[in-house]
Symmetry: D4
Subunit: 130 residues, 8 copies
């Protein structure tokens, strides 16, 4: 059993994921890591979300960045989204992640800010251990 599931939408997002791992490891938080595209591999994503025992999801994605929202629509767990910068400086991913429709919340952190995704997850997990 792990505390956090970290999912990247593309293997090119690995550098941001490393920032997440670094903080989680430092704080002794267990995690599982997957690269699954919401658009290119929706069925594997579904399976993973449904079977994951994690308590918090961290989804890292660039461009149209549907990943965090899709995860949030299939789990009742909190989902943290990290927009990844690219040709449009990450503004595309940032707006896609933060402007979710009512009822399907994603907790967005700053562009490429994997560290804060981890710190936010740790604050959430602390609620569970009281």
């Amino acid at each position: 059993m792990v505390d956090v599931a970290v999912i990247c939408g593309s293997a090119s997002d690995t550098a941001v994921a490393e920032k997440v791992f670094s903080v989680l490891r430092e704080q002794g938080v267990s995690y599982d890591y997957q690269v699954i595209s919401a658009h290119r591999d929706p069925d594997r994503l579904d399976d993973y979300i449904r079977s994951s025992p994690c308590r918090v999801f961290i989804a890292i994605a660039g461009l149209s960045a549907a990943l965090p929202g899709v995860i949030a629509s299939k789990t009742a767990r909190p989902v943290i989204g990290v927009p990844v910068s690219g040709k449009l400086m990450g503004l595309d991913a940032l707006l896609s992640i933060v402007q979710m429709p009512k009822g399907v919340p994603v907790a967005c952190v700053g562009v490429d800010n994997g560290e804060n995704a981890a710190h936010l997850a740790i604050r959430m997990l602390a609620l569970a251990s009281e």
Copy 2:
């Protein structure tokens, strides 16, 4: 059997959908209309995409606007996305729809421009009737 499936992400996008219908009707193109949120009703969306006999999808969505991309990831048909304006003038939906990752194409038209979505669908359908 219909030529075009028109799907709105929210009932509040109806005004843009009406623009699509108006052009399609004028040109005698058959269509089916659904309101299904990619985020709030993913399973119904899946069923609809898989069972639809349509040849072209038109997906209308605001905010993080995942709908067109999710459809494109589950069909081999062409998918046209229409960004709907809101608090950020539709820039959020526009970037979400147009900045799709490689391999999952969406044909984006202008903000609230339902007419052009219909015209584009008609051009695509004309390829099939040659």
Copy 3:
């Protein structure tokens, strides 16, 4: 004892706060509500943060929107920030809230999207009740 502390930076943000209350009430989640400006009343804000028994903070603010970040710097609880639209469509508040420095995480939701702040808080609180 309350589950959620809802803080507005200005009395003019009340309409967004009402959206938060509406969802929290519907779900039976207890909350306390305050209007405290991070800039104009920093000492009262400090006192409130330190004495609040809440488990999650929701901070609603427009313009330079320092409120969520200041709260996050003074509590170890999760803090959710809601950017409020104004002359620049809420882009100013959105960037201020989401682009936090490393180590002080804020969970940003969409512009004026009080509902999702509440839904996100509820997902976090559910972690505590397992």
Copy 4:
């Protein structure tokens, strides 16, 4: 006879065109390639559009990027536009291509995303072979 006509507005857009070719070749789709500026060589563009036997146009352009729209105004075939990044990150070309007036539709894909232009063309061509 070719399936797709790929037109760049400038020789400097070649890198994006190569992405288009790579996907088309992989899928065995025939294409013709031209560099014709809508602004600097309008008559040659006219001649090419009128005489081309292709079924889908892909137009690649940066800056004010009139190319896709001009083509769409002179053919009844579907036209796919690819905005090319430059000093303004491609936002200029993106808005020019996507914000077409009613009645002259262009299918816009992401900034520099030649691959998706090819994938979209292939989905359109599949309609013709049913």
Copy 5:
């Protein structure tokens, strides 16, 4: 024979054209007025440009605003472009008009600023009467 040809891309741009007329009339400058879409009526536009005896063109357009650039590509006369505001505040038209490729210059004025288009034309015409 007229000094200035004023062309709107759409009948909906008339309010901006009125501002142009008002300044030209006040200064006793003769003009001809046409509504011709670069995208929807390219042949009529061609004919008009080629047969117009005017010395300066003023082109008024919104959205992807190809009109000024198309005119500049077909005449050696100076062309002034006026971006018209719409759902994206005129930023789309502004970037389309100002970011022309090398060799096909358009003189862009401010969003909806028909007055300055007229004033600029008058400064140009004064060169001819020295």
Copy 6:
């Protein structure tokens, strides 16, 4: 006597000025070149504008780019402004140059597009030689 006066707001804009010179020289158009800051050397700018025998001004400036507008307020000649890119991609200079108040027109060309400033000046000068 020269046809065109080219003025840079700062010595760091020289690369853009070189593009202007290159086109003017190629077309045999005479010019004078000065580096004068509108903000740091307003009196020298005044003197230069008043004494210059040129028929068209080209003003090149970055950042808040007041230079073209200040020149336009002190001459009745046409003034062409070239926005220079910097930390904000030239968007600051572009908006400063193009959004002039009514009555003081500046002809804005694209970011760093010195070539088009020269081409536009040549079109204006041709009016005088008819």
Copy 7:
């Protein structure tokens, strides 16, 4: 003798100026008020700046908003600039005012935020009375 000179670039900026007056009056700070366009009336502006006995300037302007910068280039007094919103939400004026070249500083406050211009002036004046 007055403490603050308040200058608007256009009579249409009066509503923002009223916010300045209201705070200054409340605090008993004397001021003089003028409407002078930097672009349309540069000589009167020069005269006013040179003859004003004030200790702080507040300049209110929209669009390309050269006023604060021009004043800062002609006085050694502190100059506060207030960007006024318009078709581009005040982003044009904001960037013009804040992105001044090195050596000619302007103190920029928020869009339409006349109150803060007054409060800032009062903080500056307090330095003089110690």
Copy 8:
């Protein structure tokens, strides 16, 4: 006793601080320099603000850039804010610093423009020495 307190939000802002020092030194203005994060070290910041004998604060910060506003809320001295560029070109910091709520003014200068922060401080200090 020093005239100016220069505070950076992060050690990574040092390059901008050096520009401030260089101008202050050149003009013989004394200063004190600190690196204190508003978010990560609020109590040390409080102590420093309260005990500093300086007459003007210069606060340098990137990202959500709360530092200048927090200082302005805890001192009656003038506060100058310098936005530092990063992944979003400094637009995040610029908007955070300039869009302060009414009553808590910050004097914002251009992105990374440490020189102008120093020049502005010098203009303010001159008021005190008359």
